[in-house]
Each structure stands twice: as C-alpha cells, then as structure tokens.
C-alpha cells in the first residue's frame, strides 16, 4: 500500500466544470431534459410537507456544519502531532501513533461511533465520580461522542497525510534554518510546519469534503443533524423518496460550496511557477 492513499477520492476543485467551453449544443439539450425532470419531480411528487419542516431543516444543517468544522479543526490539531511523532518521535511515541492510525483507518467509522456511544456511555454511569463531575450533563448527551469519534477519525486519516507532508519537506530547508541559528522550536514553527501544511493542503481539502460525508453517521446516535431531521420527516409523512432526494440535494449543495470555497483559498496561496 502506498502512503498517499486516503479513504476515498474526494471531490476536488479540479472536478468543477470550467465556465469557458461549458455551453455546448448537447449540454443545452441535456440541461433542458434535466430541467424537465426537475419540473416533473416538483409537480408529481408530494412537497406539501416542506414548509412545516423548513426551520428544523435549517437547524439540522447548522448542526451538520458545526459537526463538520469543529471535528475538522480539532482533528487537524491532533493530526499535526500524530504526523510529527511518526517522523521524528522516539519509539514510545511513534509506535502508539502508528498503531492509532492503523486501528482507526482499519475499522468502520460507524463501529467506532457506536463503541464510543454505547460502550463509554454504558461505562461512565458506573463511576460515581464521573456522575458527580461538572462534565456529566454533557456526557449524558449524544453529541460529545459524535464529536469525539469524528475527530479521532479525521485525525487518523489526516495524521497519515501529515506524516507524508512532514517527511516530504526538503532536508536542505531545515538545514538552512539550523544554519541561520534557529532553535528546534523556531525551525518547526517557521519552516517545517508551514511547509508541511502547504504540501498537505490539497489532501486536507479532500479530507474535509469526505468528513462532511461522514457527518450523517452521528444521526445513528440520536444527534439531530439534517439527516436525522429527514429521517423524522420520513417517519411522519410515510414518504420514501421525496425527503431523501431533498437530502441528497442539500448535501450536494454543501459539498459544492465547500469545494468552491477551497478553490478560492487555493488560488490565494502562492505557488512556485504557477
């Protein structure tokens, strides 16, 4: 297995259609057909439930986005040391980090989520000091377990990427930093970390899109994200397809916005020769 593999091929900015050469005769026909399909879906399927659930859908989307960004940021903060100790750390840090990445990447996220929620959730009440601590009101809720599982998963996948990125920074640059009299910490802060993050940035974007696609799993542990709202709609209205189609559309819009935003940021980061 090569080092560069991530857990799937994420949608990246290069996949977006280019505005030039987009409109061609066959595309116009296809788009007309697609528009017809959309009109048919809008007319012949039942959408009368939609206004009633709009506020809940909005808050569900916010929960999904909060899950995405909090876990991506926390996971990245965890991924930096994970990647670093695998490159330079002593063996008693390197081996556990390696093991952590292997175990998390080798088991399904759903299983990890359920292990944390049901496993820890059933274990914690047995300890009185946990029940009496200030954390208990939070530990009784579902979302901390969702955040924890998603963060660990993101950290493991991104830690693997950061390991490659740290190892890939040219030695000469680090030697140059040392020659200028920088200490270890200054070298890390000024040279090694920025260069590694720069190298990891394209994969980081992809990982974030994949993380968005993992967030609906938290609905299985009763976190009310947009997926859970749609499940509720399906239970209450007995509709099969309409809510799911809407959900797919929502996620496509969110992914599209993420990808476009990343393209904007990527264009702002200077690269050599581009």
């Amino acid at each position: 297995m090569t080092d560069e593999t991530t857990h799937a091929l994420a949608l990246v900015p290069e996949d977006l259609p280019k505005p030039e050469n987009f409109l061609k005769p066959h595309r116009i026909v296809l788009m007309l057909l697609f528009a017809g399909l959309v009109v048919a879906v809008a007319v012949f399927m039942r959408w009368d439930w939609l206004p009633r659930y709009l506020p809940r859908l909005g808050s569900g989307i916010l929960v999904s986005l909060a899950m995405l960004f909090s876990t991506a940021i926390l996971g990245f903060l965890l991924a930096v040391p994970l990647g670093l100790v695998q490159v330079t750390g002593p063996w008693f840090l390197r081996v556990p980090a390696r093991l952590f990445c292997t175990v998390i990447r080798g088991t399904p996220l759903l299983l990890q989520l359920w292990l944390l929620y049901y496993g820890l959730g059933s274990l914690f009440p047995q300890f009185p000091w946990i029940r009496h601590s200030f954390l208990w009101p939070y530990l009784r809720e579902a979302w901390p377990y969702g955040v924890a599982a998603l963060t660990l998963s993101f950290a493991a996948y991104e830690g693997e990427v950061m390991r490659g990125a740290f190892a890939g920074v040219p030695q000469g640059e680090l030697e140059a930093a040392r020659a200028y009299g920088m200490g270890r910490w200054t070298t890390f802060r000024r040279i090694w970390l920025p260069r590694a993050v720069h190298r990891a940035l394209p994969t980081l974007n992809g990982e974030t899109v994949l993380q968005l696609k993992s967030t609906p799993l938290v609905a299985t542990i009763t976190v009310v994200d947009v997926y859970a709202v749609i499940s509720k709609v399906r239970q209450e209205t007995y509709l099969t397809y309409e809510p799911l189609l809407l959900l797919a559309l929502i996620y496509m819009c969110l992914t599209g916005i993420l990808v476009v935003a990343f393209r904007y940021f990527e264009n702002r980061i200077p690269t050599r020769g581009a």
Binding site: T5, A8, P108, L244, Y251
Partner: protein, 241 residues
C-alpha cells in the same frame, strides 16, 4: 469493580449461549457483500472509464454526473436511496412484465448498492490509470490491426494495472468498511449483529472491540495481499526513490 462485568469471555463462545458464531456469520456476510460490491464496482468502473475516455459527448457528460453525484452525496444517503429505489424499481419492472413482485434478498441489494457507489470511484481510478499508459503503446496496437476489444484485453488493461493497483487496493479497503453502513438499512452484517449482541448482553465494549478486531484483521490481511500483488504488478518497473 467494573472489571468482572466488563470481560466475560464466554459471551464470545461459538455455540448458542455465546455470540461468537453470530458475529462470524455477520463477518462472512460483510465479506460477501464487500467482494460482490467490489466486483460489480470494478465492472462499472471499467465501463465508466472507457466511456469517459472514448465515449461520445453525451455519454461523457452523463458519466461525469454519475461520478460527481456519488462523490458529493454521503454514502449513507446513497445507500438509503439506492436501497429503496433499486428494490422498488425492480419490483415495478417485474410487475409490468407480469412476473409479480419478488422478495429481493438483503445480500443482493447490498451488493448492488455498494457496487454502484464503488463504480463511481473506480471509474475515476481506472480513468487516471488508463491515461497514464503511454499513448504510443495503444497506437501501436491499433496500427497492428488489433480490434478495440483485443487492444483492451492485451494492451490497455495489462499496461494500466500497475498504475491502477494502489487506487484499487484503497477502494477495496473502503468497500470493506462501507459494508458497515448497511447496518442502517437493517441488513445483518457484522456491525448490526454486533450491536444486537451488545444490546442483548450489555457487554458493549467486548462486542464492539471484537468486531473492530475482525475488521482490522480483514484490513491487515488485505494489506498483506495488496503488497504482494503490487510488487508483482510493478515488476520490471524502475524502482522509485
């Protein structure tokens, strides 16, 4: 105090009071679906990659829509949609043909769903790999008068394999983990039976860790084979780095 209640190894026994046999049965289902879905995805991927590279403009755009949608919508949502839509559609077609509704087994539906998702990813992997084959080799085969299928069988597929194997190996690992999502539609694969076992016996940690170990073993054994296959496919390549 929690130690005795936490680890009760007899729960993992293979015979009836223990849940080990049930777990292994679920694991077997997971592997079956992963293999079936992966194979279906590979077929779709080969078709999709060739369609994207050599197809007409309409086919190319439709395939682009397919891969974009699958890569933009969460697998969980796709699985639900395909699961209901696929079984519904098949029953309607069969009903129209006058055969009447059939009960589609969870295994078939699972393989179909995972296959469609995998197909989009392998389309992208194979397309990249085919593009990495030097164009001169394919042109030479054409110049020798080989028919398109022969070019495919003798030149393109074998030549692209070294480029495709890392991506395809990665897809296999994804397929094994994606089978866990079928737990949400109620198919009794490893993750769901684990949850049932854990819920019945209240030994959550034991069962989830056991299932995790099974998945991990599957991944590690797969990695072993992937390493062998990769080395075999890359023989004759100049060693990089």
């Amino acid at each position: 105090m929690a130690a005795d209640s936490l680890i009760n190894w007899s729960l993992l026994a293979l015979a009836a009071p223990g849940w080990g046999g049930v777990l292994l049965q679920g694991f077997l289902h997971s592997v079956e679906i992963a293999i079936g879905g992966y194979a279906l995805g590979l077929l779709l991927g080969i078709g999709g990659a060739f369609g994207k590279l050599y197809g007409g403009p309409v086919l190319r755009d439709l395939l682009e829509c397919y891969t974009t949608i699958v890569r933009a919508v969460p697998e969980l949502v796709l699985i639900l949609l395909l699961y209901y839509a696929g079984t519904d559609l098949l029953n309607q077609v069969l009903g129209a043909m006058g055969i009447g509704a059939v009960d589609i087994s969870g295994l078939t539906a699972g393989i179909f769903v995972i296959g469609v998702v995998q197909g989009a990813y392998s389309t992208e992997v194979l397309r990249g790999a085919i593009k990495a084959v030097p164009a001169g080799q394919i042109e030479a085969a054409r110049a020798y008068g080989m028919s398109p299928t022969k070019v495919l069988r003798r030149i393109t597929l074998p030549a692209m394999l070294p480029y495709a194997i890392p991506g395809l190996a990665n897809l296999w690992l994804i397929a094994t983990k994606d089978t866990a999502l079928l737990a949400v539609v109620g198919f009794s694969e490893l993750t769901l039976v684990t949850r049932q076992a854990a819920g019945t016996t209240k030994a959550y940690f034991l069962f989830f860790c056991a299932a995790g170990a099974l998945y991990l073993v599957l991944t590690l054994v797969s990695n072993l084979f992937i390493g062998i296959i990769e080395r075999h496919a890359r023989r004759g390549f100049a060693e990089q780095r």
